[in-house]
């Protein structure tokens, strides 16, 4: 099993759209995919996949981390709803204010116990549930839940927009967390537009310049698509429009994932 964290230094870079669509792309290739909403401060997957849920959510990821359910009870299989070739199972974060408040006020001891639970969950995905890919959609910046997900992942994908604030934030985050954790880390430049590049360079050299500054490879440069922007997080283009250029870009990312 390969565990992938999708992260960014700032909000609104496109993490969730990329995480959900990449999960759908992999599931449509026949793989068994677990997609976990690890953005406990601003959960969105319960809304994105609401139509696919045919009954109220019994156990949230919050319940698992709080010790209220077992590893095997946290995933919800939504493959049939989307008629996917493989399996797509989601672990959802509870969007209620009470649950968000509860998980943002935990002690260091609880967070240490949470990482152990996370490793046990991943071990169960791998050995008992036959999961091929586990994808974490994390909360931006330095949150405990995100750092826990990064620590338990094989590879981290940073979603970056081409502006100076995001570039500086990403550079600091790489130095202070990712490089210390010694994780394989790659970058996707999302909503890329030649006009808003922070590095004054030819478009073809831009990714190279970013690699030189951040010292991590850029594996994809996804252009800014108006229809993706309009649909925002609800855009499940990998299912609705599999030939969309945005999905084709994610197909290319999926091709590279095993080599990361």
């Amino acid at each position: 099993m390969k565990t992938i964290s999708i992260h960014s230094s700032r909000g609104g870079t496109g993490k969730t759209v990329i995480a959900t669509n990449l999960a759908c792309v992999l599931a449509n290739r026949g793989f068994n995919v677990a997609l976990l909403d690890f953005d406990f401060r601003a959960p969105s997957m319960a809304i994105i996949f609401s139509k696919a849920l045919n009954s109220p959510v019994k156990y949230w990821l919050n319940d698992f981390l709080n010790g209220r359910c077992k590893e095997g009870q946290v995933l919800i299989d939504i493959s049939n709803f989307y008629n996917l070739k493989g399996k797509l199972q989601v672990g959802l974060a509870n969007p209620s204010v009470e649950a968000i408040n509860n998980l943002t006020q935990k002690s260091q001891a609880w967070e240490a116990a949470a990482v152990k639970k996370l490793f046990s969950l991943l071990s169960s995905f791998n050995s008992d549930m036959g999961v091929n890919y586990c994808i974490f959609d994390t909360s931006p910046g330095v949150q405990y839940s995100s750092v826990n997900a990064l620590a338990s992942s094989d590879v981290c994908i940073i979603i970056m927009n081409s502006d100076l604030v995001d570039l500086t934030g990403t550079k600091n985050m790489l130095k202070d967390i990712f490089d210390i954790l010694d994780k394989k880390t790659v970058i996707i430049l999302n909503k890329f537009s030649p006009e808003n590049r922070v590095v004054p360079n030819k478009e073809s050299d831009f990714a190279l310049k970013i690699e030189e500054i951040l010292k991590h490879p850029v594996i994809s440069k996804i252009p800014c698509y108006c229809d993706v922007l309009q649909a925002q997080r609800m855009a499940l283009l990998a299912i609705q429009q599999p030939d969309h250029p945005f999905v084709r870009k994610l197909e290319e990312v999926a091709d590279k994932i095993d080599d990361l």
Partner: protein, 123 residues
């Protein structure tokens, strides 16, 4: 007579000053006690959460991170996860035990290490 009165007055003044010094001394001692208690509590209760581990030297962090995968593990089992020598993991784990980040338990001839966070009154 005047001289005796003056000496008496001076002694009273001295006494008041000594009382004030004693009071300040007591306050300082109390502050030292509080400071000592706080530093002892901090050093006795370190937590092995990921953000705290980021502040540890790489060698210790690697051992602690590997331990997350186990309920408890021997130095040999940790070494198989990290790809380092058993002796390196043993030294590193024992240092983590001494600093209070992890626990150590001996069963017969086998020594087990574990991360055991103390969860108090958390829902």
């Amino acid at each position: 007579m005047d001289l005796l009165a003056k000496i008496f007055e001076q002694l009273k003044l001295l006494n008041t000053k000594l009382d004030s010094l004693n009071e300040n001394n007591d306050k300082l001692l109390k502050m030292f006690e509080i400071l000592n208690e706080t530093s002892i509590k901090t050093s006795l209760n370190p937590q092995a959460d990921v953000i705290t581990l980021l502040t540890l030297p790489a060698s210790l962090r690697k051992t602690a991170m590997a331990l997350y995968r186990f309920e408890r593990a021997t130095a040999d089992e940790i070494a198989k996860t990290t790809g380092r020598l058993r002796a390196v993991e043993s030294a590193s784990a024992n240092q983590l035990v001494r600093t209070g980040f992890i626990k150590k338990k001996r069963e017969g001839r086998t020594v087990y290490f574990s991360i055991e966070p103390k969860l108090e009154d958390e829902k």
